[in-house]
C-alpha cells in the first residue's frame, strides 16, 4: 500500500523548503560576516590612490600603533597568567577537595563572569582613583602617607580589573577537566607508591594542563578585546591599547585605512591565539576519554583547609563584593566622597529611569536589540547547524567554519568592518538601530550556531528518519520532531546571546548615535561626563536585567545556561 505519488528526491527538485531555509541562512552569513570582512581587508589595502601595503607598514612602524600593540599584548599576557593563578586553585578546590563552601566559590566565578567589565572598572575607579578613591583616601588618612595607596590608572590596575572577568574561563575549563579525570588514574599512581602531592603534580595536573592552557588563551583573547575597561582605566593613564587606538582613529577626520590595517593586526593576534587554543586542546585532550562515568577523587585538605578558604573569600571580596558594594553605595548617594549616611538618596535612580530620556531610551534600545539579535542568531544558527549536520551539501563544513569567524573578530573590529561595508552602500544605516542589530547579529552568530549544533548533535538522526518513513515531509519533521527536541538547547543559546548583547559596548561605541543609544554606551558616556552617581545606578540596573534574564531562564528553560567564550 503506497499512499502518495512518488516525487523525485534529492537532486531534482531544487526548490523546496529545506533548500530555501538553507539558502537564506547562507545569504545571511554572507551579508553579516563575509562582505563586511572583505570590506575591511579592502579598506586596509586601499591607500587613497591604489592598492598597497602602505597602511600596514605605517601601523607596524609608527610608535603610536606599536605601543598600542605592545600594551595589548602585555595586558593579555599578564591577564592570562593571573587567570591561571586564580582559576586553577579555585577549580581544584571545588572539584577535588573537601573545602567548605564550594557552592559559594562556584557562585563567585559565575558572578565574576557575568559582571560587565566596564562596570567593574568604574567601581574600581570609585575605590582606587588616586585622589578621590575611597580606599585610597582611607589608607592615606589611616597611615598619614600616600605610600600605601594604589593608583588604578595604571597597567597593574588595568590587569586587575580585566582578570576579574577572565579568570572564570580558566576556572570553568579546568574544573570540567578535573571532574572528568577518573579517580582510577590517581589511584594507579598511589598504589605504585606516589604520595598525594606527587600524584597531584605528576598525574592530575599534566592531565588537565591542556584545559588550563586553553582557558588561559580564551582569557587572553577576551581580555585584549575589552574596550570598556581599557578606555576607562587606560586612557586617563595614557595607556593606549588596540581597541582604544582603533577607536581614536575613527575620530574626525576618520583614518579608515589605518584603522582597518590595525584591526587586521588585531584579528591576526586573536585568530592565532584561538588557533593555538583549538589545536592544543584537540591534540592533547586526554581527559575527554574518561567520559561521563568519571568518578573524581576528593582530597581531605586538613591544615590547608583554612588558607585555601581564605584565598577563595579574598577572590570573592575583590571580584564581587567590592565592585557591587561600592556601586550600590555610590548609586544611593547624593555625591560620592561626602559623608555617606547623611547623603542617602533615590534621586539617581529616578533620574536615569524617569527624568533623563537618553538613559530611558538606551535601556529600551538594548532590550530590543538583545532580544532581536538573540532570536535571529538562534534561528540562523539552527539553519546552519542543519546544513552542517543533516545535509550533504558540498561545502557544508565551510559554511560552519565561516559562521565561527566572528569569534576571531573583537567587537571594535566588527564595528570597523560594518561601518566600511555599509558606508559604501546607498542605504543610510549608520547611526541607526539597524546597524547595531547587524553588528550584534554578526558578533553573536557563533554562539547561536554552536548552541544549535550542540542541541542537534543530541538528536539521533533516526528520530527524524522514522518520521520521514511514516510519511512526514521535511518541514513537518522539523516542526514536530527536530525543533521540539532542540527547544531547551536553543533556549539556553538564546540566553547565552541575550546576556552579553544587553551590555555590548565594544562594537556599539563606534556605531551608536543619540537616537540609537544603548545601555552600555549610556553608562560609558555618563561616566565620561563625570556623572558617577547616576552611572552607578544605571550599571546596577544593567546587572539587574541580566539577573532577571538568568532567573527567568532557569525557571523556563530548566537552567542550562553554560558560559561561552564571548563577552563584550
Amino acid at each position: 500500500m503506497i499512499h502518495t505519488t512518488p516525487r523525485a528526491w534529492p537532486g531534482r527538485a531544487w526548490f523546496n523548503v529545506e533548500n530555501c531555509v538553507s539558502g537564506a541562512a547562507v545569504v545571511a552569513l554572507i551579508v553579516l560576516v563575509v562582505l563586511p570582512l572583505i570590506s575591511l581587508v579592502w579598506g586596509s589595502l586601499w591607500t587613497g590612490h591604489g592598492i598597497g601595503i602602505a597602511n600596514f607598514s605605517e601601523v607596524l612602524s609608527q610608535r603610536l600603533y606599536f605601543d598600542a600593540l605592545f600594551n595589548s599584548l602585555t595586558l593579555g599576557a599578564w591577564t592570562a597568567l593571573l587567570s591561571i593563578v586564580i582559576g586553577v586553585p579555585l577549580a581544584w578546590a571545588v572539584i577535588r577537595t573537601d573545602l567548605p563552601g564550594r557552592q559559594f566559590v562556584k557562585l563567585t566565578a559565575t558572578l565574576s563572569y557575568l559582571s560587565p567589565p566596564f562596570l567593574v572598572a568604574i567601581a574600581y575607579v570609585n575605590l582606587f582613583s588616586p585622589r578621590a578613591g575611597v580606599i585610597n583616601a582611607f589608607l592615606r588618612h589611616a597611615t598619614g602617607t600616600s605610600l600605601f595607596t594604589f593608583n588604578i590608572f595604571s597597567m597593574p590596575g588595568l590587569v586587575l580589573v580585566t582578570v576579574l572577568h577572565t579568570f572564570p574561563f580558566v576556572y570553568l575549563l579546568t574544573s570540567s577537566a578535573l571532574s572528568s579525570v577518573d579517580a582510577s588514574y590517581e589511584e594507579s599512581a598511589q598504589i605504585l607508591g606516589a604520595g598525594k602531592l606527587r600524584t597531584l603534580w605528576s598525574v592530575t595536573f599534566p592531565l588537565v594542563a591542556p584545559a588550563i592552557l586553553s582557558g588561559a588563551l580564551i582569557g587572553f583573547v577576551n581580555a585584549i578585546a575589552l574596550f570598556g575597561s581599557q578606555a576607562i582605566i587606560g586612557l586617563p593613564a595614557r595607556i593606549f591599547t588596540l581597541p582604544t587606538r582603533i577607536y581614536a582613529l575613527f575620530d574626525y577626520p576618520p583614518e579608515y585605512g589605518l584603522a582597518s590595517a590595525l584591526s587586521l593586526v588585531f584579528v591576526a593576534i586573536t585568530v592565532l591565539a584561538l588557533y593555538f587554543q583549538r589545536s592544543y586542546l584537540a591534540r592533547r585532550s586526554y581527559v575527554t576519554l574518561a567520559g561521563k562515568g568519571a568518578r573524581p577523587q576528593r582530597l581531605s585538605l586538613g591544615a590547608l583547609r583554612w588558607p585555601l578558604f581564605t584565598f577563595c573569600v579574598l577572590i570573592f571580596v575583590i571580584a564581587v563584593f567590592l565592585p557591587y558594594a561600592s556601586l550600590l553605595a555610590v548609586s544611593f548617594s547624593k555625591s560620592w566622597g561626602l559623608d555617606f549616611w547623611k547623603n542617602l538618596t533615590l534621586k539617581n535612580y529616578h533620574f536615569i529611569l524617569f527624568e533623563y530620556d537618553v538613559t530611558r531610551r538606551a535601556i529600551l534600545n538594548s532590550l530590543l536589540l538583545a532580544t532581536l539579535a538573540a532570536t535571529f542568531c538562534v534561528i540562523v544558527g539552527t539553519a546552519i547547524g542543519w546544513i552542517d549536520l543533516r545535509t550533504r551539501f558540498i561545502g557544508r563544513k565551510f559554511v560552519d567554519y565561516v559562521s565561527l569567524i566572528p569569534l576571531g573578530l573583537p567587537g571594535i573590529v566588527m564595528a570597523a568592518a560594518l561601518i566600511q561595508f555599509w558606508l559604501r552602500l546607498p542605504l543610510h544605516l549608520y547611526g541607526t538601530l539597524a546597524i547595531l542589530f547587524l553588528a550584534y547579529a554578526a558578533r553573536y552568530l557563533p554562539l547561536g550556531v554552536r548552541s544549535a549544533n550542540a542541541a542537534m548533535r543530541q538528536i539521533d538522526p533516526s528520530l527524524e528518519e522514522s518520521a520521514r518513513i511514516l510519511g512526514a515531509s521535511w518541514s513537518r519533521t522539523a516542526r514536530e520532531i527536530t525543533l521540539p527536541l532542540m527547544r531547551s538547547g536553543l533556549f539556553a543559546g538564546w540566553i547565552l546571546i541575550f546576556v552579553p548583547a544587553i551590555q555590548e559596548l565594544s562594537a556599539s561605541i563606534l556605531l551608536f548615535s543619540s537616537n540609537s543609544m544603548t545601555l552600555a554606551v549610556a553608562v560609558y558616556n555618563l561616566y565620561e561626563n563625570g556623572y558617577i552617581e547616576p552611572v552607578a545606578a544605571l550599571a546596577l540596573i544593567n546587572a539587574a536585567i541580566i539577573g532577571i534574564a538568568i532567573f527567568l531562564a532557569n525557571k523556563v528553560g530548566g537552567g542550562d545556561t553554560r558560559f561561552e567564550s564571548t563577552s563584550n
Binding site: P6, R7, W9, E465, A467, R468, L470
Partner: protein, 366 residues
C-alpha cells in the same frame, strides 16, 4: 503483490582513504509477505542495503523496484515519506517528547485519519504488541523492550507493505531478546507484511527467516532458506559465518564418476566437488563440529581415524574438544556424557554427507 527487486545495487562512501564500497552489485528478489534477513558481520553492507531500500540513500548504481515501480536509481529516488514503508531502528527512535499514543498516532495524523478511527487503530495495534493501557506514558517511563514495541506499533499502525527492521533486538537483554524474537515472528505471520530484517546474529536469522541473504564485504554471498545457508553454504565465507565450522585446507586426490575424494593430512573424505574442479586442485573443506563423532575404540566407529585430544571444555549441554590427527586440528562438539581426557587417544568419524568442499581461497581464509 509487491515484490521487491534489487538489481546491481552499489553504494560507496567517500572516506579519508578514498572511496569505500559499502555495497557492491547486490541483486536480490524478495517475495512479498516473507520474512527476509540481511545477515553479516558489522561493515558488511547490510544496513546500507536496508537504508537504500528505505530511500535514505541514493544508490551509485543499480536500481530498486517495488511491485514493478522504480523507487531508486542513481538519477532519482522516491523519498522515504512517499514509499509507504515502515522502519524500526536499532535504538528504537521513539520520540521522547511524545506520549506512546502520540508516537503511534503520528503516521495516522499524516494520513488525515479521523480522530475516532485513529484512536481505535492505535488501540488495536498497541494490543497487538502487548502495550494496551500505556497510551499516555512517555518513552522515558518505559523499559527498553516496551520502547521497542512502541517503535513496532508506530510502524505497523499505518499498515505498510514492507517493514524494515535494523537490528531491532540488539539493545535488549538476552531473555527479552528471545521473547521479542518469537513475538516478531508471530507478528509477521499474522500481518502478512514483508519484513526485511538486518542482523549480525546468525541464530536470530536462522530462527526468524523465510530467506536469508548472507552479506560480506558489501557483496551478497548467498540467498537461500535457513536450511540452505546452514547446510549447503555457497562458499567458505558463508560456512564460516553460519555458526562454528572447521575449515580444512585440502587437495582433490581422486575422482571416480561423481564421487570425489579429498585429502587433508591424514583425513580422507568423499564429498561432492565444486563443478569444474580438477584432480590435484586445492580446496577448503567445511566440517561442522557437531558432525564429528568420537569413540574410544575403532570397533565402536568403523572407518574412524585415530586422533589425540588436545583440549576439552565442558559447556553444560555438550563437551567441546579440540583433537589432532597428525597436523590437522579439528574442533568437535560431542554430547555431555561422552568424556575423553586431554591427551587420550580417540577415534573420530566425520559425517561426509554434511560437509562441503569449496575452491581454495587461501588469501581469504580466516
Amino acid at each position: 503483490m509487491s515484490e521487491i527487486l534489487l538489481r546491481n545495487l552499489s553504494k560507496s562512501y567517500s572516506g579519508t582513504e578514498g572511496d569505500h564500497a559499502a555495497v557492491s552489485e547486490v541483486s536480490l528478489t524478495i517475495v512479498s509477505g516473507e520474512f527476509v534477513t540481511l545477515l553479516g558481520p558489522s561493515g558488511c553492507g547490510k544496513t546500507t542495503t536496508l537504508r537504500l531500500i528505505a530511500g535514505y540513500l541514493v544508490p551509485d548504481a543499480g536500481e530498486i523496484r517495488v511491485a514493478g515501480r522504480l523507487l531508486s536509481s542513481p538519477k532519482s529516488v522516491v523519498p522515504p515519506e512517499s514509499r509507504g514503508m515502515g522502519m524500526v531502528f536499532q535504538n528504537y527512535a521513539v520520540w521522547p517528547h511524545k506520549t506512546v499514543f502520540e508516537n503511534v498516532a503520528f503516521g495516522l495524523m499524516l494520513r488525515n485519519v479521523s480522530k475516532t478511527e485513529a484512536r481505535e487503530r492505535v488501540g488495536r495495534v498497541l494490543e497487538l504488541v502487548n502495550l494496551a493501557g500505556l497510551d499516555s506514558r512517555y518513552p522515558s517511563e518505559l523499559s527498553g523492550g516496551q520502547q521497542q514495541r512502541v517503535a513496532l506499533a508506530r510502524s505497523l499502525v499505518v499498515e505498510p507493505a514492507v517493514l524494515l527492521l535494523d537490528e531491532p533486538l540488539s539493545n535488549l537483554d538476552a531473555k527479552l531478546r528471545e521473547r521479542m524474537r518469537a513475538e516478531l515472528k508471530t507478528l509477521q505471520r499474522r500481518t502478512g507484511i514483508t519484513f526485511i530484517y538486518v542482523t549480525h546474529d546468525q541464530s536470530e536469522a536462522l530462527a526468524l527467516s523465510d530467506h536469508i541473504a548472507v552479506m560480506h564485504a558489501g557483496r551478497l554471498q548467498q540467498y537461500g532458506t535457513p536450511r540452505e545457508v546452514y547446510c549447503e553454504p555457497a562458499n567458505h565465507i558463508v560456512a564460516d559465518f553460519m555458526g562454528l565450522v572447521n575449515l580444512l585446507p585440502a587437495r582433490l586426490v581422486e575422482v571416480t564418476g561423481t564421487a570425489s575424494v579429498f585429502e587433508s593430512g591424514q583425513v580422507r573424505m568423499t564429498i561432492p566437488r565444486p563443478s569444474g574442479m580438477q584432480v590435484g586442485a586445492r580446496a577448503d573443506l567445511s566440517i561442522r563440529p557437531e558432525t564429528i563423532r568420537l569413540a574410544a575404540s575403532e570397533a565402536d566407529l568403523p572407518g574412524a581415524f585415530p586422533a589425540r585430544v588436545l583440549e576439552q571444555t565442558y559447556l553444560g549441554n555438550l563437551n567441546e574438544y579440540v583433537i589432532a590427527a597428525g597436523e590437522t586440528q579439528l574442533r568437535v562438539q560431542a554430547d555431555a556424557q561422552a568424556f575423553f581426557s586431554v591427551g587420550s587417544e580417540v577415534f573420530a568419524l566425520i559425517d561426509a554427507q554434511q560437509c562441503r568442499a569449496f575452491a581454495s581461497a587461501d588469501t581469504d581464509t580466516p
